[in-house]
């Protein structure tokens, strides 16, 4: 995709020049957005339209703009973004442009180029392509965008056919019909699947505590989850519930505390550590069901990020948080729908990495989690205040996952 800001001014309304130019853009297969329009006050005053034109590739755009030039369309006088080289690995030049998670273009080499991987709180590095790069990943010699000149950010647009966004656009609230909302999430997942978008599940331990684990396992088995992020707790309790029938020592069947159950999760972690990895524990038959089991069986990639509170941890847990975030980043390519399931810390961590264009649903019994996610910049997140266990059951049923 290539785009350019153009200016059309003069007697463009009465003479239908604006209509002609906009029609011609669409007829060529390109798209436009009128970003500014200043209508002449009288029929003597010129009008002025500033239009963003987007075409499939730079050559197509050049041809279109050459055609439009005879109708008075000129490239807007846009200054290239200022670039400065990093001098030290992992340290940005002072005054670097700090990103949002919105779609962003950088004017460089005389044209607008889209940032290929929008992510908030990063720098933008201009090379063969224009990419966001987190601070610790920049290398000496990287050319970094400075200040806001030559940078433009596109406001969030609703996803195609995303009536659910309108439906859920009011403040997050428990006062919503849950079954309807579950159906709408299922619709968005189906729509994502149709456009080859990957679906991400971010899970907290409450998924297991509330009995949602078998339902999520169904969704993984049926192919509705393409990548999974969680921490040590979720994976541990998922395995504990399948190996010992408890979650943090509480029977998932009866809901009662089991004798000596407080140490169950430690024993499970210990056994998985003995086998070397969750995959090895699955292969050898120690783990025979559950979400992690299905991920291994279905080859669904997962990233388990560690924390200072972790017991064990499981051998798959990445204890270097910077490395964990990088692994999560690497798994985000192509993700179009994200489900944040009863997790605060992993939801915020993932929200920090997601482009705003990813349809994000945050399911939590505590509505403060959704608010927190939005407060941290993930404004695209839509909240469903409900108990995650029954929600996952309804969702799996709705999607026909067995």
């Amino acid at each position: 995709m290539a785009s350019e800001t153009v200016v059309l001014e003069g007697h463009i309304v009465d003479s239908l020049i604006l209509a002609k130019v906009l029609d011609q853009i669409l007829e060529s297969g390109a798209e436009y957005e009128v970003v500014d329009f200043d209508m002449g006050r009288t029929n003597l005053d010129p009008s002025r339209a500033v239009i963003d034109v987007s075409a499939g590739d730079p050559d197509e755009l050049d041809r279109l703009l050459a055609d439009l030039h005879q109708h008075g369309v000129n490239r807007a006088d846009v200054t290239d973004a200022q670039l400065e080289e990093c001098r030290v690995d992992g340290v940005l030049p002072a005054g670097f442009y700090a990103t949002t998670n919105l779609e962003t273009d950088v004017h460089t080499g005389g044209r607008w180029q889209s940032v290929v991987n929008p992510e908030m709180d990063c720098a933008v590095v201009v090379g063969d392509e224009v990419r966001t790069v987190p601070m610790h990943r920049v290398r000496a010699g990287d050319r970094v965008v400075m200040g806001e000149t030559g940078v433009r950010v596109h406001p969030l647009r609703p996803a195609s056919g995303a009536t659910v966004f309108e439906f859920m656009s009011s403040d997050v609230s428990s006062e919503k019909p849950k079954a309807l909302m579950t159906r709408r999430v299922a619709e968005r997942m189906r729509s994502g699947r149709e456009r080859d978008a990957r679906i991400l599940a971010v899970c907290g331990p409450a998924v297991v505590h509330t009995g949602g684990s078998p339902h999520l396992a169904r969704l993984v088995r049926a192919g509705w989850v393409d990548v999974l992020f969680a921490g040590n707790g979720f994976a541990t309790h998922d395995i504990e519930s399948n190996v010992l029938g408890t979650s943090l020592g509480v029977s998932v069947e009866r809901g009662s505390q089991t004798e000596g159950g407080h140490s169950n999760h430690l024993r499970v972690i210990n056994e998985v550590r003995r086998h070397g990895s969750i995959a090895a524990a699955v292969d050898i038959g120690y783990v025979g069901g559950g979400v992690m089991y299905e991920c291994v069986r279905q080859r669904v990639p997962f990233v388990l990020g560690g924390s200072v509170r972790d017991d064990g941890p499981l051998p798959d847990v990445i204890t270097d948080v910077v490395e964990a975030a990088d692994r999560m980043r690497a798994e985000l390519t192509g993700v179009g729908v994200a489900l944040m399931l009863a997790t605060t810390l992993h939801a915020v961590a993932t929200g920090n990495l997601l482009p705003a264009t990813v349809e994000t649903f945050c399911v939590d019994i505590n509505q403060a989690v959704v608010t927190k996610l939005a407060d941290r910049g993930s404004h695209q997140a839509r909240g469903i205040v409900t108990d995650v266990g029954p929600f996952l059951g309804d969702l799996a049923d709705e999607l026909g996952a067995r």
Partner: protein, 292 residues
């Protein structure tokens, strides 16, 4: 109820012409010009004189600017520029071959007491050849000879709204081959010369168009001069003549075949000097002095 009565054009009684002493086809800048088709000088003079006499008989006064060697198309005074009241905006010609005419045009208008107001460098516009007043607006053609952006400049220089129309037929390369205002409601129109947006712009301006077929347009019958009730035409297809006469116009056919060899008809050979576009403008009178 009777329809609104048309009101005669408030302009078209005073023209500038240039005798064809040096007129010939020595270059090719439109599809009508062929260097091998020679102009017959005596016939050209005779046709030009007859046109002048016809205009005068119809009630127009004709002023003359001297011909210049090396500027064969100076004879087409419509392209000298645009007149409004005491303002003259000289053309910025598209082709270098015709750019030599501008100093002569400017000299004549300056001597006649006009304010010379120029288009910015690089903004091409070929004067009354590509712009005609109608219904309070200046209708301006663009693409082959004139730039669209000239419209904004002309509006500022002349103080009138400008409606732009894209020309699409190389053979009808100037607006005055496609549009001829007849009075305040009617005009001869050649829609085949305009793109679909231009057709809509003209349709919104002209309540009663006399629409030409593409074939009729190529006779140059829109390149006519209207003097009050008289329409002085280089050619007149039967259907067009009947319609004009039905509307009460007197059709005067004045063949200018020698000039059509260079792509110009009656209108091209004349420049109306009594046009007032802006609300405050009054045309210069015959003596070259501004009216009060």
């Amino acid at each position: 109820m009777s329809p609104t009565s048309p009101v005669a054009l408030p302009w078209g009684r005073r023209y500038l012409m240039c005798p064809p002493e040096h007129f010939e086809v020595v270059y090719e800048i439109n599809p009508w010009m062929h260097r091998e088709v020679k102009v017959a000088p005596d016939a050209a003079v005779e046709q030009w004189e007859q046109l002048r006499a016809t205009l005068q008989t119809a009630g127009a006064t004709v002023e003359l600017m001297p011909a210049e060697p090396g500027a064969p198309d100076l004879v087409f005074t419509a392209n000298a520029g645009l007149v409004s009241g005491r303002t003259f905006v000289p053309s910025r010609f598209h082709h270098p071959e015709r750019q030599v005419e501008t100093p002569h045009d400017v000299a004549w208008f300056r001597a006649a007491g006009y304010d010379i107001r120029k288009l910015p460098a690089g903004v091409e516009h070929e004067g009354a050849g590509d712009a005609l007043p109608f219904a309070g607006a200046l209708v301006s053609g663009y693409r082959f000879r004139s730039d669209l952006r000239a419209a904004t400049e002309l509006s500022a220089l002349l103080g009138c709204p400008v409606r732009s129309v894209e020309l699409v037929d190389q053979r009808l390369y100037h607006l005055d081959l496609t549009l001829c205002p007849l009075d305040d409601r009617r005009a001869i129109c050649a829609p085949s010369g305009w793109d679909r947006y231009g057709q809509r712009v003209i349709a919104s301006l002209v309540p009663e168009p006399l629409e030409l077929t593409a074939e009729e347009a190529l006779t140059f019958c829109a390149n006519s001069v209207v003097v009050g009730n008289a329409v002085v035409m280089p050619a007149c297809p039967l259907r067009v003549g009947r319609r004009l006469e039905g509307w009460g116009f007197d059709v005067e056919v004045c063949p200018v075949g020698e000039f059509i060899k260079a792509g110009g008809g009656c209108r091209c050979l004349t420049l109306a000097l009594d046009v007032a576009l802006g609300p405050a403008e009054a045309p210069l009178d015959d003596g070259g002095r501004a009216r009060g």
